[in-house]
Amino acid sequence: MVAESSTSTISVTLRVWRQDGPDKPGRFVVYKATDLSPNMSLLEMLDVVNNELESKGQDPIAFAHDCREGICGTCSMVIDGKPHGPHKGVATCQTYMRSFADGAVITLEPFRAKPFPVIKDLITDRSAFDKIQQAGGFISVRTGAAPDANSIPVPKDAADLAMDAAACIGCGACVAACKNASAMLFVSAKVGQYSLLPQGQPERDRRVLAMVASMDDLGFGNCTNQYECSAACPKLISHDFIARMNRDYLAASFRQALSPKSAAASGGA
């Protein structure tokens, strides 16, 4: 197989959501992008458009990006109606111009979800995810207090499945894809990772209860099993983790209601 020749170029029309600030009205603005190599990434195409805008003294299109290789979770765009664009299992930054036909009209919008307010143009505020993590997305182990790493064996299957969940890049596409703006896939990936590992057991109940409560408080919606989330996930995280979390949540709720508590136990966070 040979890469498409870089000599034949394409041109596209962009419809881009422009919005000056969180409380400002937004609108679509049309731009032309011409003479593009099909091997260029969508973001590189936007760089080219922005360079032109900047040299003309016009405000460049604000968009979030950093690693440009699908791992940091910064990039976040709805491309032609789909979070992260037409291809399965890739992030916005891994979308290449060869995915679009010459003359195509491409619509670029920010992730749209109430818990992710727009900051500017295509950039949204996803800090709610950090807050959910703070509620319980961790195993409490003070630095220096850990036993030898091989003293707790972890079955390979469990480790592999935990890794599938841990692959989440925290981009928020699952929320943007869900008509209820549910964060269940994101939360269940973290909960699932830890509940599969022996190290995660002591805080298992507490974690799932706290993270779900935090998700609800932050205004994310309910899951109604449409699975748009896993379809949009750039890491193809399976919605099986949602089912797994629901079971964990139920069990934890029962145990919390029924289990005897030491009167001497301190609250603590």
Partner: protein
């Protein structure tokens, strides 16, 4: 002249760290909460430091320019992290990891620091496993290992091709736990734009909020910079686009010495450049060299042929040929230069002739396509996305690219810079990798610094500071620094020229790659030293930054960073020019053995060069710290 006191403890190498920990001053638990520490950065180094310092009871504020601490560039590390666990029973030990790292660094790092790094490496793996990092496991449930370049033991721990991500998310989870308890305050989208020095000590920073443009002052008892490497000075690199040098560069301008800026690592296995629009170069993890074989055609006329049509006897597996004992796992600098030599000879492949093959045919015949997919599937997928080629069927094309910076702010054994109260961790400091870093050692260093070194050593400084004595932010030093930050943005916006920031960044990158890249000469460096100031002048005359400083303005962000790169690039070349030897990633063509290997000059250059800012337009001062080797004998580095 800066005072460079390395503070290396006396005594036998293996006892230094233990002895030092026993002897340095401590802050008593009740006093810890009276000290505030600013940590800039939440990559592996910053997140581990901020979490651990807050666990100890210090009040910590953590600043990142990213929208979340989880997005630091560490997230992109693929291959793995080294540790001297010797779980494979293949002869590894703390000493061997120490020795490999010293040798890998071409005898230009400090013995004591490197030994400490090897010592704490084992604790890092314990810590991360306990945090729930899903490391690769064997069927028995124990941790698995792979091999990395520059080592003959298998000591690299990994989580598929996403080791950096998993380690970072582990450190991030610890940080989130402490933030949830209110022990750390996190400030995302907050870029440090200046360092504040009061009475000769680092006592605060100035930040600009990238979403709102607001400029703010912060005071503290100590400032920790963990802001990553400066490889984006070359424009094209394997770094995330946002990685920048502003924090350390502006600290340099406030008096912190910049050590060995010319030590940059060019990684041998990256996807080659495809066009002028290119914004980054993607790494293909070094772990691929465990099973992939690197070759070029023996005959120039074969270079444009389909590789499948080139007979086995017409292929030159040059790493296996030249370095039989390390073969495809020769260290990065050595492998990169070998690739360059092949291309210089006209035997490079691909459209541009700047590429070599990384071939998995043998591995596929050994383990089958599925076996190779299990090990490296995600890397093959990345390769396919970018190049539209299927590497299971045809060899990958790779070429070296800028990947890591061994240089950074000078620090002593306590990781404190020459500015008291300013600590520097992770890739931002210069400390452990000498002139070349071995694969899987940056993650180790970042976490070692953050989890296991700074929590002890910062106490030694803080114990000398009266609790509650940190200055108020209404002091003149703060307003002067704030004015400086506002002034830079104002000047950038006022230029009103014609070219966008990217134009200058690209040109700077090209000057550096040509003049100070994989091979450097006196002439190429002198040329770059002419061109960079000229480009800088043009930048300050002809740059166009639209908009204002009072809101989100990505063009202004980039302009600020590129303005710093335009100064740093010059220092890089100056350092490379004055280091009249070849060592590790610094290859001066004038100084080589007949077979093209690095020729060090231990008599004149067995030292750290720590550059000190002398003011605008003045040549910086080159201070030196001698490197005294007490345990290892400096010798010619050979991987043959």
């Amino acid at each position: 002249m800066a005072k460079l006191e390395s503070k290396i403890p006396s005594g036998p190498l293996a006892d230094k760290w233990r002895k030092h920990k026993a002897e340095i001053k401590l802050v008593n638990p009740a006093n810890k909460r009276k000290y505030e520490i600013i940590v800039v950065g939440a990559g592996l180094a910053g997140a581990s430091a901020a979490a651990t310092l807050s666990e100890l009871g210090y009040k910590v504020k953590c600043f990142v320019f990213h929208d979340s601490p989880r997005r630091a560039h560490s997230i992109a590390a693929q291959g793995g992290i080294n540790a001297a666990k010797n779980y494979q029973n293949d002869g590894d030990s703390v000493f061997r990891l120490f020795y490999d790292t010293i040798k890998g660094g071409d005898y230009r790092s400090r013995e004591a620091n490197v030994h400490r790094l090897a010592e704490v490496s084992v604790n890092i793996i314990d810590q991360c496993a306990a945090q729930g990092v899903p490391f690769a496991r064997e069927y028995g449930g124990l941790l698995a290992n792979r091999s990395f370049g520059g080592a003959q033991v298998s000591r690299t721990f990994y989580a598929r091709g996403q080791t950096g991500q998993q380690l970072l998310l582990g450190a991030y989870s610890a940080l989130m736990k402490m933030a949830g308890q209110g022990a750390v305050e996190i400030f995302p989208n907050e870029e440090m734009s200046d360092l504040v020095i009061v009475d000769g000590q680092a006592k605060g920073i100035i930040t600009r909020n990238l979403n709102t443009g607001e400029v703010r002052r912060w005071s503290a008892d100590a400032v920790v910079l963990a802001t990553g490497g400066y490889g984006n000075v070359f424009n094209l690199s394997t770094y995330a686009r946002g990685s920048n040098a502003t924090a350390i560069w502006r600290a340099y301008r406030r008096g912190a010495c910049f050590a060995n800026p010319c030590y940059t690592q060019i990684h041998p296995t990256c996807i080659p450049v495809s066009g002028d629009y290119q914004s980054k170069l993607t790494l293909m993890s070094e772990s691929l060299r465990n099973d992939g074989r690197i070759w070029v055609p023996k005959k120039k006329e074969d270079c444009k042929k389909d590789p499948a049509q080139i007979a086995e006897e017409d292929r030159d597996y040059y790493l296996e040929r030249i370095y039989p004992s390390f073969g495809n796992l020769a260290p990065r600098d050595v492998s990169s230069r070998a690739a360059k030599r092949m291309c210089d000879e006209g035997r490079g492949v691909g459209e541009t002739g700047l590429g070599v093959y990384l071939d998995f045919a043998d591995a596929i015949s050994r383990f089958g396509e599925a076996g190779v997919r299990e090990r490296y599937g995600n890397l093959f997928d990345i390769y396919h996305e970018i190049t539209n080629e299927n590497a299971y069927k045809t060899p990958m094309r790779i070429f070296p690219a800028v990947h890591y910076t061994m240089g950074g702010l000078w620090v002593d054994y306590n990781l404190m810079s020459n500015v008291p109260g300013l600590f520097v961790l992770g890739e931002a400091n210069f400390s452990d990798h000498g002139a070349n870093r071995l694969g899987a050692s940056a993650l180790m260093q970042g976490l070692g610094d953050g989890y296991f070194v700074i929590p002890y050593t910062i106490g030694d400084y803080l114990a000398s500071q009266k609790p509650g004595s940190r200055p108020k932010t209404d002091r003149p030093e703060f307003s002067q620094a704030e004015d400086n930050v506002r002034g830079i943005s104002k000047r950038l916006l006022a230029i009103d020229g014609k070219e966008p920031v990217a134009h200058f960044h690209k040109r700077l990158g090209k000057i550096l790659w040509d003049g100070c890249g994989m091979a450097r000469t006196k002439a190429s460096l002198e040329k770059a030293l002419q061109e960079i100031p000229a480009l800088r002048e043009e930048f300050w005359k002809n740059l166009k930054v639209p908009g204002s400083a009072d809101n989100l303005n990505q063009a202004l962000e980039r302009a600020n960073r590129v303005a710093d790169f335009l100064e740093l690039g010059e220092l890089l070349c100056l350092d490379a020019l004055e280091r009249e030897e070849s060592c590790g990633g610094h290859f001066r063509e004038e100084h080589q053995y007949p077979d093209g290997e690095c020729k060090r000059d231990d008599e004149n250059f067995a030292h750290v060069a720590a550059w000190e800012f002398q003011g605008e337009g003045k040549k910086p001062l080159r201070n030196t710290e001698p490197l005294n080797y007490e345990t290892v004998k400096m010798s010619v580095r050979s991987y043959k």
